[in-house]
């Protein structure tokens, strides 16, 4: 993998990509219509870019939530079994067992809309209308006190909602462990085994341990 190989490859690619098409040749790729792009482009950003028309309130959202979401996430967003807990847990992020939910952890409210719209309900994704997604978003945020019950959530209001953990994230500072030349000899005085996986006993039984190999 020499530098000259990379340069040669780059020159080759540049020549090929720049190769002018002759009249009558089959094009590579076609220009989509604006309508096609609009149907594919469903994402919404924290600044509101991409949020569609529509609206909803927590009161409207409760009924939809109970019908479409509660079987996995619980009637109050508290979770059923190992499905994700959606709300609650504010102030728990420093605990030994933090509760990371949409209201305790997520920094931006439009992400809640974007995720529900694209991926929920699990097994029947993208079956909700935009009004329903706005209403469910409102229901979740209101159930944890972030917005009032009658707050109208839409493309304009959603990006302005300040989430409790909006300032909770810092850019990746890694490497965040000591560097330098590693020790090779007499590095530690005493080695103590502080954890045994077998004593925890959660490894699946089928780990296919041949007698020898």
């Amino acid at each position: 993998m020499s530098r000259s190989r990379d340069l040669l490859l780059a020159a080759f690619l540049a020549a090929t990509v720049a190769m002018p098409a002759l009249a009558g040749e089959r094009p590579i790729g076609r220009v989509p219509t604006p309508e096609e792009i609009a149907r594919w482009d469903i994402d919404a950003r924290p600044d509101g870019l991409g949020l569609p028309p529509g609206r909803g309130t927590a009161r409207e959202g409760e009924e939809i939530y109970l019908a479409r979401c509660a079987s996995c996430h619980g009637e109050f967003g508290e979770a059923v079994g190992r499905w994700p807990q959606l709300v609650g847990g504010q102030g728990s992020l420093t605990w030994d067992e933090p509760i990371k939910t949409a209201t305790s952890y997520w920094p931006y409210a439009p992400t809640v809309f974007d995720y529900i719209k694209r991926a929920m309900p699990f097994g029947d994704a993208q079956s909700l209308t935009d009004d329903e997604v706005y209403a469910i978003t409102a229901f979740l945020l209101a159930s944890d006190g972030i917005i009032p019950e009658d707050f109208v959530v839409d493309a304009e209001s959603l990006p302005k909602i300040v989430m409790p953990n909006a300032d909770g994230f810092i850019d990746d500072p890694r490497p965040d462990v000591p560097g330098g030349e590693p020790c090779m000899k007499d590095c530690v005085a005493e080695v103590v085994i502080v954890g045994h996986a077998r004593k925890i006993g959660v490894t699946p039984e089928d780990k296919a341990r041949p007698v020898t190999d």
Binding site: P32, C187, H196
Partner: protein, 412 residues
């Protein structure tokens, strides 16, 4: 001519110009039926059009840890590292992580849209993509949560489970840069969003610098088309970065001027610290290694000569050194590395070892070309606590007891 269907060729060979040439003695065509050379009673040479491993290798399969997730549609399986060799992961055992099931996509119906802050949006068919300049590249893909179950202590007693969220393959495809240049970037193009066509419509965003560096749109893996679980017919690959970003079933690339902060880069794939703050955009997979033999899946039958086998890798580039310890980290020796040593790919090490039958505590430590040294679990916890889930690249330690059994342990 070698064939298992000699009948097919007899008729055309008698007709046409070729038939006249044969009749005139100008050309001679001999048909050999391969079945005639088969040795078994059934003369089977075509009973397995796509071959499988020997039945004696049935234990070399991906495995799941059921209690990890609520459903297997949104879960992960693990590469059987303790039985693999070399640096290429066979396609059938390459780990899979899906967030909405394994999508089945007809390639003739699949389209990839490139749009957003570009001069000319374009839609590509799979045939279009294969007409563009292509390359073969070897890179690993590793889940950000590889080793995640070990943050609070030694938990899973298997090499497959503590480091198996990784695979390495030769990928064939097109540079993302090629696609972006064909559409023409606008001056304010700063971020790129990738979206999958699976049921979770998974989206991740990343800086334009990565898109123009080594980001890759792959349609083949180890010589054949991508497997459905790897994003058939086409996926993104962001070499060296957490594999969640290498969006499978890729259907849309959008160029923008700011990050999208999708669920997968806020709620998940962020690293929560004891302070309650969290690292975000922790993309690179830092240097890591694991001893794949011996491992908890194996038992050493008695004293004698053995080969220690292991893997090392770094998302920042090449591995330059792997050290081994046999006393839990008091003393280290350097193991020779096998060629090829490629950036952002698995690197293999082997080390001849004589086991005297005593209890030993073995571990490996990788160092990459940036000088980064794989940390101990204590060093990682000092930096990030125990709640992080992701990016646990700490040294993995195996305890070999006097009866030759191997166990995953943590040392301090």
């Amino acid at each position: 001519m070698l064939t298992i269907f000699p009948e097919i060729f007899e008729s055309p060979l008698r007709a046409s110009l070729l038939g006249k040439a044969i009749a005139a003695g100008l050309v001679e065509v001999r048909i050999h039926d391969i079945r005639a050379y088969a040795t078994d009673r059934h003369r089977k040479v075509d009973d397995e059009p796509y071959g499988k491993p020997s039945k004696y290798e049935a234990h070399v399969v991906r495995r799941n840890v059921e209690w990890l997730t609520a459903s297997t549609e949104s879960s992960i399986n693990f590469t059987p590292l303790p039985w693999l060799n070399g640096i290429i992961t066979p396609n059938g055992v390459f780990f899979e992580r899906h967030h909405g099931g394994r999508a089945e996509i007809d390639p003739s119906a699949h389209r990839l849209l490139v749009h957003g802050l570009v001069e000319k949006p374009l839609v590509y068919t799979m045939e279009d993509l294969k007409r563009l300049p292509c390359e073969d590249r070897i890179w690993f893909l590793e889940c950000a949560a590889n080793g995640g179950m070990e943050w609070r202590g030694a938990q899973l007693d298997g090499c497959q489970y503590v480091r198996g969220m990784i695979g390495c393959a030769q990928w064939t495809g097109v540079r993302l840069k090629t696609l972006l240049e064909r559409s023409g970037l606008k001056p304010n193009a700063k971020w790129v969003l990738a979206e999958g066509a699976d049921a979770s419509a998974l989206t991740r965003s990343f800086p334009i610098e990565k898109a123009l560096d080594d980001a890759f749109v792959a349609y083949a893996q180890n010589g054949e088309a991508l497997r459905p679980g790897q994003g058939y017919p086409v996926r993104l690959i962001l070499p060296g970065w957490e594999a969640n970003m290498s969006v499978k079933w890729l259907r849309r690339i959008e160029v923008g001027d700011a990050p999208w902060y999708t669920r997968w880069e806020t709620s998940k794939y962020t690293d929560l610290l004891p302070s309650g703050k969290a690292y975000k955009f922790t993309w690179v997979q830092e240097a890591n290694s694991v001893i794949t033999w011996p491992a908890p899946e194996h038992k050493i039958d008695g004293p004698g000569q053995y080969m220690i086998r292991g893997l090392a890798w770094s998302g920042r580039g090449r591995i330059v050194r792997v050290d081994l310890t046999f006393d839990g980290g008091k003393n280290w020796v350097t193991a020779p590395l096998q060629e090829p040593i490629l950036p952002k790919a698995l690197t293999r090490f082997y080390y001849p070892w004589r086991w005297d039958g005593s209890t030993v505590i073995i571990a490996s430590r990788a160092i990459d070309e940036t000088g980064y040294v794989q940390p101990t679990i204590t060093q990682l916890r000092n930096a990030r606590g125990r709640n992080s889930i992701y990016h646990n690249n700490a040294i993995i330690t195996w305890l070999v007891n006097a009866s030759g059994e191997v166990e995953n342990v943590q040392v301090a």
